[in-house]
Assembly symmetry: C2
Homo-oligomer: 324 residues x 2
């Protein structure tokens, strides 16, 4: 992949597995079904809120690219999305977020209590469904990943108000918080493949996930609310330290001023966005995402040529070039 990547739409990436992706939503609905009224109501809301299915896409593409044709792939893809949903419900509750994918969060629409309980409900449903396969491997990978994500959330709490937060800590954070599940999705898709395919796809997913999260953190600096659906500078408003800021920090007193201001105003936030840009924070973060993207692409070399492999390659461009 050249450093200049052509824009690839998620639709393009999903084409080789479009049929399976349609089945994933039905599987998800089956797995979370409940005969208790509040749970059903929350489920209906979550299914409306359904996102881009990026993790199921990666699982299904990995499965095809590794030549597995695992008949459990659609169910496993639904389970990976379910684990993602469970973590979103708890994250929104922990962060007191009110909107997710343009809809009210569970904590906002129902209550904080219901959000905590529903996250547990969804996660335990995912485990029940995984246990139904008489094969420990998917469970082993996804239990480890889920545990890593909780440590990632703890690291996220530490990435607040902390001017000394470094690149090493940021890397550990985005690996645990985001990249581990993308890696797990790719690995679980290739469980039936030879070990070299499986391990290459696990590494691919980890690199892709890091590039994906760096890109996400960059969007907070570069894109207006109309494009991303969340206010520009939101991370700064919430005192979150991400890669562009880490690069730009170098002891600037205005950043210390931001951290000391409970609710920074528009002017202060705008000034720091300009400062970060001038200090090369955005450029460095972009370059790091592209480096990771290139490493991710190299991991695909071991796989035979196929439309699914091409789509995984396309998913890299999607991850680093997306604007929302």
């Amino acid at each position: 992949m050249s450093q200049q990547v052509a824009r690839v739409s998620l639709h393009d990436v999903q084409r080789p597995v479009a049929g399976e992706l349609e089945l994933v939503v039905g599987e998800l609905r089956r797995v979370i079904a409940a005969d208790f009224p509040i749970v059903s109501e929350v489920n209906d809301h979550l299914l409306q809120m359904k996102g881009k299915l990026f993790r199921p896409t990666l699982l299904l593409l990995s499965n095809k690219a590794a030549g597995c044709n695992d008949e459990r792939a659609v169910t496993l893809a639904a389970i990976v999305e379910l684990i993602h949903l469970a973590t979103l419900v708890h994250d929104d509750s922990v962060d007191h977020s009110v909107l997710r994918r343009g809809l009210p969060t569970i904590n906002a629409l129902f209550s904080h209590q219901i959000a905590v309980i529903m996250g547990d409900y969804l996660y335990s449903r995912a485990i029940i469904e995984l246990v139904r396969f008489d094969d420990h491997e998917a469970l082993r990978v996804l239990a480890r990943v889920t545990n890593e994500m909780t440590v990632g959330e703890m690291r996220q709490l530490e990435a607040h108000d902390k001017l000394a937060y470094g690149e090493g800590e940021y890397d550990a954070l985005i690996r645990a918080k985001t990249a581990s599940l993308l890696s797990g999705a790719c690995e679980v898709g290739a469980l039936a493949a030879p070990a070299d395919y499986r391990l290459a796809l696990a590494r691919f997913g980890m690199l892709l996930g890091m590039a994906f999260q760096i890109t996400d953190d960059l969007l907070d600096y570069t894109e207006p609310e109309a494009v991303t659906g969340k206010p520009s500078g939101l991370d700064l408003r919430e005192h979150k330290v991400t890669l562009p800021l880490i690069v730009a920090l170098a002891g600037r007193t205005v950043v210390a001023q931001l951290m000391d201001t409970a609710e920074p105003g528009d002017d202060l936030v705008a000034e720091i966005i300009r400062l970060v840009e001038a200090a090369g924070g955005l450029e460095t973060a972009r370059q790091r995402a592209l480096d990771l993207a290139q490493q991710a692409e190299t991991e695909l070399d071991v796989l035979p040529s196929s439309p699914a492999r091409d789509a995984l390659q396309g998913s890299i461009a999607y991850a680093v070039e997306r604007r929302s």
Copy 2:
């Protein structure tokens, strides 16, 4: 068992498995160990907070009484306690409780955010440990139980402010919230036993758990704070409807008045406790706990005579006679 049971101390109940119980705490420590500072701090606090190990006791006694001598029993007992701990951490967070077993709760000592994340951390550690055994059965039972407990928590939310709450709903609540894990502990202890032992112990645990929870709800009416460690009438203060109140309700307007009062005063709470007692609510709840206890005891008939079976019998008396 006669309707008048001799007082049995938990110490007596635990005697046949005292050696194993000492190992359980070490196993628990091993399973939750983390190399991330906040997680370690929370773990240390949770290990101090360690309760009476009633669920591990039941698992170990079931294992012995069913003649299994499963070498995994100590680890499984630690996992059952870990699942219990994870649910306590989330329950305290959902309820905004500040004290648990005489120590500050995780949400009070650290933060609400850390409590939500730590519950997820502990539960995913339990799953990782269960996956290490190449045997799906323990995982199948405990994943189902955990999911039932989340539905129980949802039912608990509905048991507030609801004068129409009936005995059937209360039964479903205490089965899901409390009895399912006690049943799971007994069943997992007897996984290696013949099916009739295993199923009898699962039913035993369910009946015992219901009697245990009814007794707990009774203590809220009958025992002062000095004995139970929580204020008498706390459930009423929090608008929780339990069996004694359900029995006593019969359309009394003073109960409606309680439900309409956001923070009921001592006089109002004391009046309703007297009312519930006069209406036979306490006696009916006591009788129901004793009936369940007798049914639980009958389930033990299938097992051969042993000190462990005697201790399981003793655990029934402990469950219904305890004062805190």
